[in-house]
Subunit: 361 residues, 2 copies
């Protein structure tokens, strides 16, 4: 079991923010109280800013609605999606912490096979604080877990691993299916608890879901842009996918790791597949071009920071995906705006000017 | 659970041979009787050929000792290792079946978390008969299992998958560690039952263990050469690793899949770490060169069969690893001999002459 670690897991309570996008009262936090209460929450309110979002007592939080985003970013606010959970990435930008955990408000505490409540956040922290092994596959999965190790034939020179940038958690109950699969299998539930964490190998893309996700903001934050989705855009439900593909290409380039597997959360309710189909339609079509694009992206040696990688990626998106649909030119613009806004809110330490000029704040 | 499939799993009893290398009486088969008795066994007796190996009653088997190998292969017998379980690959060569399952004689029936005996062979057959997904990672693991599917963001064009060539099973109890890890962690036992099967992504190498392994002989058989190990050789315990690296490079080139995960067997006893260290010493050292070599191998377009791929690989082994140690020139020679012997015992269907000339038998 994941909890068998001998050393107590650092809480990182002053180094981690929990980012929650929402349009409703956050009653779901009651269930998470034992695990989340020590942490600071960043709530990104989507939709009507005049609506009051109730947060259960005792939580330490800051809340941003659309008016706040517009006020803080000015014209650059255009890069933050509206009426789509992609707006959550605004929370990543305003955080000042090293780590981010983001969770959807329809995700509850799951139980492990012994019936014990799973502290998802604690497992994410363990994942982020132990290295990743992207260069060679270990058949006993995460070699750093208690009771596991590198197996025979694993090169010794690779056993130190690399820093972990992303921890991608999974979901029991409602699986994260696309609309066509939801329509075909409306009753399918994920009941299989797979007691594993593994590194996604270098060069391999994966579908990153934003429902239950943690990352090291210092290592990879600026790549965690959830794109332009929702209101006024021809696509939805590809926000986390977009972020995942960009992130994976950049972590591969920078020699960082991405883990997937534990922890599970309990995903309580399926979204409407008919609504989803409308949001996904273009994405399902476009992703057939996006995957080959991301599989063949090559970043130059000079791209030594996440920002530089991301701006280079934006350039390639415009050059190669602009012809798929004009939307990708808009998206490429937004990717640049996102980095400008990120650098504005997160001036480089020591005040060193960035490629985009000195911090303007 | 793996057994939840709705369709009965085909037994393939006339299409699969079980290959067992051994130096002792095969009492371990008693435990496997309910699962193995319908199948034909190919026993490869290692060591002293005058020793009598007892096989429990009721099993259908053929047994080959060193004298048989020498008689059948003549001078080409030099490619089959002696005093090393690498000799098992002779069994792959003499089989006439489509599928091979190979297991070590210190591997017993494991139990699933509900306490039920695991029919390892049945799970391997399921793995081999369902496709693999090497081009994109599915976060819910094998999408073809009951209760699972492709998740949101998985390109639809990739959902058919590719034929599965290899099913790599795991081990409860004694993990497959190298000598240094055995020495450092003598008491470590693998108690974690991970209820997953997954495809090793394209471009990723893995440590393939021969203890509990199944493959499609028609798709990949000639790549399953376990190398030159043991008696008279400067290396042991890298037989299955060598086969795994060659196989992975070739399946990647040919668009075939390799799965790992379920089923588990119960590995009953750890081999002597001091003896193992002596066998492994060179391998531990050499593998630091071997992995970059295999990671950078590129096979030409014209290599459209496993044999052609393998001969090309032999050429590259000689060219690039010969300078690491003279052993690799010998190994490259043996790789060629292995293919010649394979083609001799397995003349192409329809009697079409091979690249090595017409079948000589």
């Amino acid at each position: 079991m994941a909890s068998a670690s001998h050393a107590p897991t650092p809480l990182l309570k002053d180094e981690l923010d929990i980012v929650i996008p929402t349009i409703r009262n956050l009653d779901f936090l009651e269930m998470w109280r034992p695990f989340f209460q020590p942490y600071h929450l960043i709530i990104v309110q989507d939709g009507d800013p005049s609506k009051i979002i109730r947060v259960p007592e005792g939580f330490d939080y800051e809340l941003y609605n659309r008016n706040d985003i517009n006020r803080m970013l000015g014209p650059k606010a255009s890069c933050i999606s509206f009426k789509d959970s992609a707006c959550r990435c605004f929370g990543y930008m305003v955080s000042k912490k090293k780590y981010i955990y983001t969770i959807d408000d329809d995700c509850f505490v799951a139980k492990d096979p012994l019936g014990k409540d799973i502290n998802a956040l604690e497992q994410h922290i363990k994942n982020l604080l132990s290295p990743s092994t992207p260069f060679f596959f270990n058949t006993l999965y995460d070699p750093y877990r208690v009771g596991a190790d590198f197996v025979r034939g694993y090169p010794f020179s690779l056993r130190e691993g690399v820093p972990t940038a992303v921890s991608h958690g999974l979901w029991l109950n409602i699986p994260d299916y696309d609309a066509p699969t939801q329509l075909v299998k409306p009753l399918e539930r994920n009941t299989r608890y797979v007691d594993a964490i593994l590194t996604i190998p270098k060069g391999t893309l994966f579908p990153m879901c934003g429902m239950n996700l943690a990352f090291d903001r210092e290592l990879i934050g600026p790549a965690m842009y959830f794109g332009l989705m929702g209101d006024g855009q021809p696509i939805g439900r590809y926000d986390d996918m977009w972020a995942g593909w960009c992130t994976k290409v950049i972590t591969d380039h920078l020699g960082l790791g991405v883990k997937t597997g534990l922890p599970y959360i309990w995903h309580s309710k399926a979204s409407n597949p008919f609504v989803n189909l409308k949001k996904e339609y273009n994405g399902i079509f476009w992703q057939e071009e996006l995957i080959p694009f991301f599989q063949s992206v090559s970043l130059p040696k000079e791209a030594t920071t996440v920002q530089k990688c991301y701006l280079e990626l934006a350039k390639q998106v415009r050059a190669k995906l602009g012809k798929v649909d004009g939307y990708f030119n808009k998206l490429a613009d937004s990717m640049v705006t996102w980095i400008e806004a990120w650098d504005e809110l997160n001036p480089p330490k020591g005040g060193v000017p960035t490629a985009n000029g000195p911090p303007k704040k």
